[in-house]
């Protein structure tokens, strides 16, 4: 069938290739997985089952159920992010839909969208589908992959219309402090940049609480915050996220959402409400376990001579392997059956690095890091 240029012209994701290589073997320990290894807290799953039993299988309001929006607003109130559940919250089918809606709502044809890299692979295609032009802003290992005004300046982001900000970051695990965000916020105000802040990993931080750029002076009115349940509550497959932002932006996003999605999955909304109501302890436990794994993985990589900065969030470490990261990852998979994702897949600044996910049991992490150490020893 004839397909549209816009679809055909989207590049194949570099992740795909490694997925196929890894799937071709059956003895693989994968450190290439971008989702939690836990299941959603039982209370949330049980609530979803209860909803199905009671026959709650119809659409909800476009913006999501009022109860869920109120619970989301109350949750963010705790982090000094006040949003009005009536007008400033939109429940979406995963953070993915919220990101897509934000681009389609905020990007006019030809608008330039600055994306710091390495970053999650969906932003550039999303911007292109919305008719915008992605502008790559490489961040540096020397800055622990934080975004700085200098990096923005160097990439010419002052001319951009929108900035995509993703901290805690996939793939680096980098986080940014309030002080660092203040500098980026100043750049945005000076250059009249609006921001889409993908904060999906905000609950998974290990060195102090998450900081949001939307809480910086003058930023709330120019920022759409994207968040969701996938990572914090280990609910990736339930597909539930949301956007927080000024009423006019949320209203415009909802205008598209009402036609393209109608409403986010009802069962997932029921689970999410219960997650917010009663699952704080499970989240804390998951965070503590990720933290132990994070420390183990980072110290093991540094011991075996792959320099790894201490990531402050998400569940990724980003060790430096030097040289051709794709070749390294392929050889590692071939020799030891350990799958990692080459950093260059995530854009400029990722070369010479590997994304290592520690959303894997402690036992597997130990086995995998032993194998990587052996791979390095035998290679020399």
């Amino acid at each position: 069938m004839r397909t549209a240029d816009r679809a055909r012209e989207l590049p194949e994701s570099g992740i795909r290739k490694f997925f196929e290589l890894a799937e071709a073997r059956d003895d693989v320990i994968s450190l290439g997985v971008g989702e939690p290894d836990f299941s959603a807290p039982w209370a949330a799953r049980n609530a979803a089952i209860g909803g199905l039993e009671r026959g709650r299988t119809s659409y909800t309001a476009n913006r999501g159920t009022a109860e869920l929006r109120e619970a989301i607003a109350a949750h963010h109130e705790r982090y000094d992010q006040p949003y009005d559940p009536g007008e400033e919250v939109l429940v979406t089918t995963g953070a993915s839909e919220a990101v897509d809606l934000a681009f389609r709502t905020l990007v006019d044809s030809g608008d330039v969208v600055a994306i710091h890299e390495p970053s999650y692979i969906s932003y550039a295609p999303g911007v292109e589908l919305a008719g915008g032009e992605p502008l790559s802003v490489p961040t540096r290992a020397a800055d622990d992959f934080a975004l700085t005004p200098e990096r923005l300046e160097a990439a010419g982001a002052g001319e951009a219309d929108l900035l995509v900000l993703c901290y805690p970051n996939n793939p680096t695990g980098a986080t940014m402090t309030d002080a660092q965000l203040a500098e980026v916020a100043a750049f945005c105000r000076e250059n009249d940049l609006r921001v889409v802040a993908d904060e999906i990993y905000s609950a998974l931080t290990y060195r102090g609480d998450h900081a949001s750029i939307a809480t910086q002076p003058g930023m709330r009115e120019r920022t759409v915050v994207v968040n969701g349940f996938s990572k914090a509550y280990a609910m990736t497959g339930l597909r539930l996220g949301y956007a927080l932002g000024p009423a006019d932006a949320i209203d415009a996003m909802n205008r598209i959402h009402q036609y393209t999605m109608l409403s986010a999955p009802t069962t997932a909304q029921i689970a999410a409400l219960e997650a917010l109501r009663s699952c704080d302890d499970e989240v804390t436990e998951m965070v503590e376990e990720y933290n132990r794994r994070r420390r183990l993985v980072v110290s093991r990589f540094n011991e075996m001579g792959l320099d790894t900065f201490e990531p402050g969030g998400a569940f990724y470490a980003f060790p430096e392997c030097g040289g051709d990261d794709e070749a390294f990852a392929e050889a590692l998979l071939e020799a030891e059956g350990v799958a990692v994702v080459p950093g260059s897949v995530f854009g400029a600044g990722g070369e010479g690095h590997l994304r290592v996910s520690y959303a894997t049991s402690m036992r597997e992490l130990k086995e995998a890091t032993d194998r990587i150490a052996r791979f390095l020893a035998e290679r020399d």
Binding site: F18, F19, A22, E23, V33, D37, S122, R295, L296
Partner: protein, 162 residues
């Protein structure tokens, strides 16, 4: 203390973690971990390190029972004294003073149902303070020591994902 607590969290999940791995996971240095383990043991916070066993899967098996015990105390005898006498039997795996309809909940481990009932009728029931015992044999264990006894949920995630 903070360090003791972090070490305890690791040991409570997996008592076989070695010192180096506990150090890596907690960010403490190895000496501090050794110190923390020693003080947890000395303070009686950590009493031992045991495997979580599903006895039904062993060849000879074992029988477990939860026994409710009611006692009558007098001026000379308190719960402590009774507990001490019951706890000394090796067949007693766990012993708790509980609120509610009875006084002690005892977990008894034996080679067979006969072993367990003989132990209760010959050793426990005749104690002068014991007024009543009710024995519940455990038919099936689904979870113990925080560990679910099922074949592990398969990891059905894609092996590599964004």
């Amino acid at each position: 203390m903070e360090a003791e607590r972090e070490v305890l969290d690791v040991l409570a999940r997996n008592a076989r973690e070695d010192i180096a791995d506990i150090a890596a996971q907690t960010g403490l240095d190895a000496e501090r971990v050794e110190e923390a383990v020693a003080s947890l043991e000395a303070d009686g916070v950590v009493h031992g390190y045991q495997a979580v066993v599903d006895w039904d899967r062993t060849e000879e098996g074992k029988i477990r029972a939860i026994v409710e015990i009611n006692v009558e105390l007098d001026r000379e005898t308190g719960y402590e004294q009774v507990a001490d006498r019951i706890a000394r039997f090796p067949a007693v795996d766990a012993l708790h003073l509980v609120s509610g309809d009875y006084d002690f909940a005892v977990e008894v481990l034996g080679g067979s149902m006969q072993d367990v009932s003989r132990f209760i009728s010959e050793q426990v029931a005749p104690m002068p303070e014991v007024t009543q015992t009710v024995t519940h044999y455990i038919m099936e264990t689904y979870k113990d020591g925080g560990v679910r006894f099922a074949d592990g949920d398969d990891d059905d995630r894609l092996s590599v994902s964004p």
